[in-house]
Amino acid sequence: MSPGVELTGHTSLTRVARFSCFGVLAICAAVVFGTAAEFPRLANPFGGMTMKANTALILALFAIALLLELSTRRWTRAAKGFHAVAGAASLVTFLQYVLNVRFGIDELIVPDRISVVGSLPAGRMAPTTGFALLALGVGGLWPERVARGSIWCPRQGLALVAAAAGFASLTDLLFVTDLPSALYRQMALTTALCLMLLSFSMLTTRPESVLMRVFVGELLGARLARQLMPAVFVTPVILGWLRLEGERRGLYDTGYGVALMVVATTVLLGVLVVAGAESINRADRERRLYIAQLQGAQSDLRQANAFLDAVFENLPTMVFVKEAKRLTFTRLNRKAEEIIGVPRSKLLGLGDKDFFPAEQAAFFESKDREALNRGELVDITEEQLRTATGTRWLHTKKVPIRDDDGTPLFLLGISEDITDQKLRAEELRSAKDVAESNSRELEAFSYSVSHDLRAPLRSIDGFSQALLEDCFDQLGPDGQDSLKRIRANAQRMGELIDDLLALSKVTRAELRTEACDVTLVARETGETLRQQQPGREVVFEVEEGLRAVADPRLLRTVFENLLGNAWKFSSRKGQAKVSVARGPVENGKVTVCVRDNGAGFDQKYANKLFGAFQRLHAMKDFEGTGIGLATVQRIIHRHGGRVWAEGIVGEGASFYFSLPEATAAPRTT
């Protein structure tokens, strides 16, 4: 029996049964006292047949027995005793009729002086009463154990027999009163009533029997049965009474009376059938609708499950589910098989210790337990998994899945394979180490260059000068010229070294970018050049509002080189013009153009401009080391920008460079 259709109404039924038993006891007490005190109004208030004192005593014994059984303590043994005594008394009385003897039980306890003297011996109950009481007694003594759900329940059957006898007598009392034969079949009105009440109580002592179960509970059938049952008792009685009354008054003869009763019964049964059928149909429709909805919901559920299965199966991360008690795998996806390297058919139902080294399995399981006990996600950023295919590194999250009460049911694990990531990080680290060591070596090298290479140059230059000064006359014009050339070359080499160091510094220096005011940096650099070469007349123009993200020191170096070049190569022009302007727009990059109207260059050599020591002009025309533009290029590349140049021989050159756009206003100027 499913929950919700439990035997509700069971206790109220028991209460009614107990009340009935007390009612019977009260009636019986009245009868016994009435008989003993010879006070008929008390023993038989309704007239007609009188209940006998013996009957009252036996009924009282049954009532007590049933009360014992109905009590919450269920005194079955004591009840059996009462049933036995009552049953034996009934049997003896009944046997008197069957064997036609007198056992002297009729007035054993209470002498009967109030019954109407008829053909029945004084104090003796009617044979039907004896039979009904005997049925009750046997029923009451019938062994307890009855197979659950079995229709065969003799106790209930015997109780019904007793009830039927009582009911028959009641109906008989209603219809026929004066026949002499009624003496042997009719019980007193109170006896019939008490019999029916006791039968009902006896039925109630086994509410779980099939018969009683039909009436108990909230099921539609039980409700229907409860509603219809009174009609079943009352209707035939009323119909029969109407028929008899009609016949008695001469409205119709017996044949037509029966016909009318048949029709009325048919109509009433028909109404009952229609009403019952309609209510069952309604319930059935609801049930079918519900089943259809249920099937629809099940189908939706299946689809949702299929969807989740597909997601689960195809996730790029390993997903597994373990049963919470034994920590054995209950579900795994494809990636899990791939990582562990074992097909799921061999994994399901087994735990970590069946596949991994003991120490590792212990670690995994301790983490599982941690998640389950704490009831929250446990994040294991790095765990090692030694499989047949080699060691893998996993980033695993373990999540407990609990029922509504908080009892852990499953452990959900999600593992990301971070082996490649880890390897890459390691490679990167070693590459970084190499780069750092290279950079340190480079630094040591530059330091040594700046100190050690310059010192001899200084000596060459210094002593050449000394020689020129000390032995000017002895040297003669050729010697003097040679020494001058030696000095010029030593100085030029010094410049080369300086420029090379600057170039290497550009590579080594840490990039500290910020939003820069390009216009301002260009203007300041131009101003410095103007001060260094006061003899030059240069028209210098800088476009307003140029901004970029750059390392301000390196940006200055870029302008020092580009504007320095512009100044230098425009020196032969009558009216030198140098400008800094916004160039063509590239996506997300600001382009700056530095233009001069100087010597220019042949466009076909444009690609050579930015190489170290590449020069397009003879030394005698324009001095220079050929490192400036290489430095510019390196700086711009380090900023992720691009640098290029356009030139026309004799007309000028344009140098373009691009830098990341500055969105915010420059911080420093």
Binding site: H451, R454, G462, A466, R487
Partner: protein
């Protein structure tokens, strides 16, 4: 009153050139040459009172035994010499040398140019400034 110049220089060529530059600029002060850091420190720390402190120290950075920066650190760490004007006179213009020198309390930092003409000019300026214009506290002066 003699104003001694302490030249700390390991390279004899540079020493000769420096001396020549001083002479060319008519700086006649006595020049004491220390050929490594140890020698320089030995000269300076012979003891308070026993010897006059130089007017100026011209300090090269790349030196055998004890390098120039170490010499500078010792000078500044010793009470007797801590106010002594020290001009770093060296080949490099490496950022970290500049920063360390000033952090250690160098009074000036001059790079020796390759061009002897420029060197001559630098020595002239140094002499004029440190030997003539600049005032130093008297010996043993306390704060």
């Amino acid at each position: 009153m003699s104003k001694i110049i302490l030249l700390v220089e390991d390279n004899p060529d540079d020493e000769a050139l420096t001396l020549r530059a001083l002479k060319k600029n008519n700086i006649m002060n006595e020049v004491v040459v220390a050929r490594d850091g140890e020698e320089a420190l030995a000269y300076l720390t012979t003891g308070p009172g026993s010897r006059e402190l130089p007017q100026i120290v011209l300090l090269d950075l790349k030196l055998p035994k004890v390098d120039g920066l170490e010499v500078l650190r010792s000078i500044r760490a010793t009470e007797w010499t801590r106010r002594l004007p020290v001009v770093v006179l060296t080949s490099s213009r490496e950022e970290r040398d500049l920063i360390t020198s000033y952090n250690l309390g160098a009074n000036s930092y001059v790079r020796k140019p390759v061009d002897f003409g420029q060197f001559l000019e630098a020595v002239k300026q140094l002499g004029l400034y440190w030997l003539v214009l600049n005032e130093t506290p008297g010996e043993g002066a306390n704060e």
